[in-house]
Symmetry: C2
Subunit: 393 residues, 2 copies
C-alpha cells in the first residue's frame, strides 16, 4: 500500500430540487458578480438558467453569461471567458452543465487568479503550474467526468488539435448541486458515454502495478458493479430516478480520488491514448475510452493477470477458470460485453474512425511527446502506443 | 433514495512517516500559536510529541501543551483547555491522539470561536448551536471514532455522568495526518474497541427504514468486510502495517458521511443507548456498542428483516435460509461471532456491568430525556429502551 493524500473539499448538495439552494450557496460563498458558464441553449429552454438567474437576482448578486461550450472544450472559449470576466469584474464562477463546462470554467478560474497574467495554456502545456483558482460552484447536468469534485480539467487547443489536462486541488469546486432529474433528458448515447467514462475513472486507478488495498479495491468494485447495473436499467428506462442518482453519485466518487487511495496513482494510459483521439478527431470522451480499453487490457494483461482476474471475479461474478490468464481474459471480455450492452464502441471502427498509416504514427508521437512513456501496468513506448491504436481498429 | 449533503473538507495525509509533514501543514494553515492537545504521556515517551514540537520550532510557530484527556473526554478538561488557550492567545488547535482528544479539542474550538462567550456545554446540551469553530489539525494515533474527518464531538459532563454529542460541519478538521505505524503499539483491547466502533458507524447508517442506495450499500458492505477481515488479522499479527492501514482508513470513511449518502441519516439508537452506559459507567465506547448491538438488532429486526438478511448475504456470505427472518438472524449471529472473535463483549455482563433495577430505569429515562424516541428502524420509547438494556444483560 502506498501513501496517499485525499482531499475532497467540495460540498455536494444531492437530490431532488436541490437547484433551489443555489442562491443561498452563492451568497454564502461571498459572490458579488458571477459568471454563468454553460454549453447549449438547452439550459435556457429547460428553465434551469432562468431559475438560477432568479435566485441570484433575489440575493442581489449580479451575473454575466457565457454559453457555447462544446464537448472537448476549446481554448478559444476559455479566452473569451477570461476577457469577459476581467471586463465585468467577476468574482465567482458557476458552471451549469457537465464536464466540458466545468473544465472550461476551471481554466477560466486559473487565468483569473494568475498573478502573472500569463497565457492560461501554459498550465495545460505543463510550462507553468497554477498557484490559485477563482472559486467555482457547479450545477451538474451530466453524470460523467466527475469534474464537479475532481482536481482535473481538460482543454483542447484548436490549433493542432491538442488536448491536455491540468490537475490541481485549487480547481476543486467549492460546491456542486446535483439533481439527478437534470440528467433525465440526456440522449442515450450521452448517458452511455457518461457511464463508460465513470467506469474508466475507476478502472484507470484500479489497474496499478505495485499498490493495492482491500478497502479501496472493494469500493472500486462496488462502484463498477453499480454503474454497470444502473446504466443497463437506463437503456430501457431512461427516466428511472434511482438509476440516474446512482450513476450521478458514482460519477463524483469515481474521480474525486476515493477509488485510488493507497494505489500508485493508477495507470491512465487509456485516458492519454483517448486524449489524442479526442484532440484529432473530436470524438466523445467516454466512447473513445470504451473503444480503446479492451485492446489496451489485452496488451498489458500479462504484466499482472491476477488483477484482471480479480475484476472478473468481483465485478462480473465470473468463476475461476483453468488459469489466471483465462479468468483475466473473461473479465476483459465481460467488460467489453458491458460496453456493447450500453451501445458503446469497443473498437476504433465502431467509433467511426479509420486512421491512415500516417495518422497512427502522429497519434503515438503526440501521445509520447506530451508525457513520455505511458502507464503503470506496462510502460508504453511510442511503438507500443501505435500497436495498441492499430490493434484497436 | 433520500436527498443528502456530503461535505468532507479534511485534507488527509495518509501513510508512512507522514508526521514529518506537520510543520508545513501548520504553517500553510496560518498557525501562529498552537495548542497541542493529547491524552496520556505515551505520546511524549514515544517521541511523537517532541517530533511535532521540533517541527513547529523550525517553522517559528509557538505552542502550549495540554495533556490528560481520557476516554469519554471530560468537560472539566475542555474548560481547562479553553482557559489556557484564551490566556495564551492560541489561534490553531492540534489534536495528537484518538477520538477522545479530537472530540475534546473540537469542544475547545467551539468555545474559542463563540462570540457570545457562553458556556460550551450549551452546545452539547442542545441549548445553543455553534456558529464557528477554531481551525483544527489532527495527528491520529487510534483508529476508531472517525472524528478526524467527522462533524461529531462527544463530551461527558462529570456532574450527573452526562455524555452528549454536538455535530456541526464547523468542527471538521482542516487536515489529518494518519500514519498507521502510530497505532501499532495499541493494546489488543483498544484495537478491537476501535474496530467495533468503526463497524458500528457504518451499521448505524446501514440500518435505516426508508432509504437505500446500491452504491452506498455496497460501499458500506465493503467497509464492513474489510474491517472484519483486517481486525481479525491484528489479533495474531498486531504489527501488520497493511491491516493497520486498512482499518485506519476505514475508520475515517466510516464516519465522514460516505456510508450514509442517500439514506435517511441512519438509526443511531445503539449509539444513544451506549452513550448512557458510557456516561454512567465510563465503559469503552466500542465495547459498549458491541455489547448492545445484538440485542438491539433482535429487538428491531421485524421492522425490516430484509435489511438484516442483506447484511448476512453481502457481508458474511451467508446463503439464503428457509425464510428472510432466518437469514436475518444468521446475519446478527455472524456479527456477534465476529465481535467475540476480536474479544469484544456481546452482553452487558461481558462488558462487566450488572445494573440494578433502578439503574435500568435511570438509563432509559436519561436516554429518552435527551433525544425523545430513538431510532429509525423502530421508534424506541423509554419502555423499549429499558427492555433492550435488560435483555442485553
Amino acid at each position: 500500500m502506498k501513501n496517499f493524500t485525499y482531499y475532497t473539499p467540495t460540498k455536494v448538495i444531492f437530490g431532488q430540487d436541490t437547484v433551489s439552494k443555489l442562491g443561498q450557496l452563492a451568497k454564502e460563498s461571498g459572490a458579488k458578480k458571477v459568471l454563468l458558464h454553460y454549453g447549449s441553449e438547452r439550459v435556457k429552454k429547460s428553465g434551469l438558467l432562468p431559475n438560477i438567474e432568479e435566485q441570484l437576482d433575489a440575493e442581489g448578486i449580479s451575473y454575466v453569461e457565457l454559453g457555447g461550450v462544446v464537448p472537448n472544450p476549446r481554448l478559444s472559449k476559455v479566452y473569451e471567458g477570461i476577457d469577459l470576466c476581467r471586463k465585468e469584474g467577476v468574482d465567482f464562477l458557476i458552471a451549469v452543465g457537465g464536464g466540458s463546462v466545468i473544465d472550461s470554467i476551471k481554466a477560466i478560474g486559473y487565468a483569473l487568479a494568475d498573478e502573472e497574467e500569463g497565457d492560461v495554456w501554459d498550465f495545460y502545456n505543463y510550462d507553468r503550474k497554477p498557484k490559485a483558482c477563482m472559486p467555482i460552484g457547479v450545477v451538474l447536468t451530466i453524470a460523467a467526468t466527475g469534474s464537479e469534485m475532481s482536481n482535473s480539467s481538460v482543454i483542447t487547443k484548436e490549433e493542432g488539435g491538442i488536448k491536455r489536462g491540468c490537475n490541481t486541488d485549487y480547481s476543486r469546486p467549492r460546491w456542486a448541486i446535483m439533481d439527478p432529474n437534470l440528467t433525465m433528458t440526456l440522449p442515450q448515447y450521452q448517458t452511455s458515454c457518461g457511464a463508460a467514462d465513470i467506469c474508466m475513472h475507476t478502472l484507470e486507478r484500479y489497474f496499478s502495478l505495485p499498490g493495492s488495498m482491500e478497502l479501496t479495491d472493494s469500493i472500486a468494485e462496488a462502484l463498477l458493479r453499480t454503474v454497470i447495473t444502473q446504466s443497463k436499467i437506463l437503456m430501457t428506462d431512461p427516466s428511472n430516478y434511482e438509476a440516474r442518482a446512482e450513476i450521478m453519485w458514482a460519477g463524483s466518487l469515481s474521480h474525486n480520488g476515493l477509488t485510488g487511495c493507497g494505489s500508485d496513482g493508477g495507470d491512465w494510459a487509456c485516458h492519454r491514448l483517448e486524449h489524442e483521439l479526442g484532440g484529432l478527431y473530436d470524438v466523445a470522451h467516454g466512447a473513445g475510452l470504451a473503444a480503446i480499453w479492451g485492446t489496451w487490457a489485452r496488451y498489458v494483461m500479462d504484466a499482472k493477470p491476477e488483477r484482471f482476474a480479480q475484476l472478473a471475479r468481483n465485478v462480473f461474478a465470473i468463476e475461476d477458470k483453468e488459469s489466471v490468464e483465462a479468468t483475466a481474459l473473461a473479465g476483459i471480455e465481460a467488460m467489453e460485453d458491458y460496453f456493447r450492452s450500453i451501445k458503446m464502441p469497443v473498437s476504433l471502427t465502431e467509433l467511426g474512425l479509420n486512421p491512415t498509416d500516417e495518422e497512427y504514427k502522429i497519434l503515438a508521437q503526440k501521445c509520447f511527446k506530451t508525457t513520455g512513456p505511458l502507464g503503470s501496468m506496462k510502460k508504453l513506448m511510442p511503438e507500443d502506443m501505435e500497436k495498441i491504436y492499430r490493434a484497436a481498429l
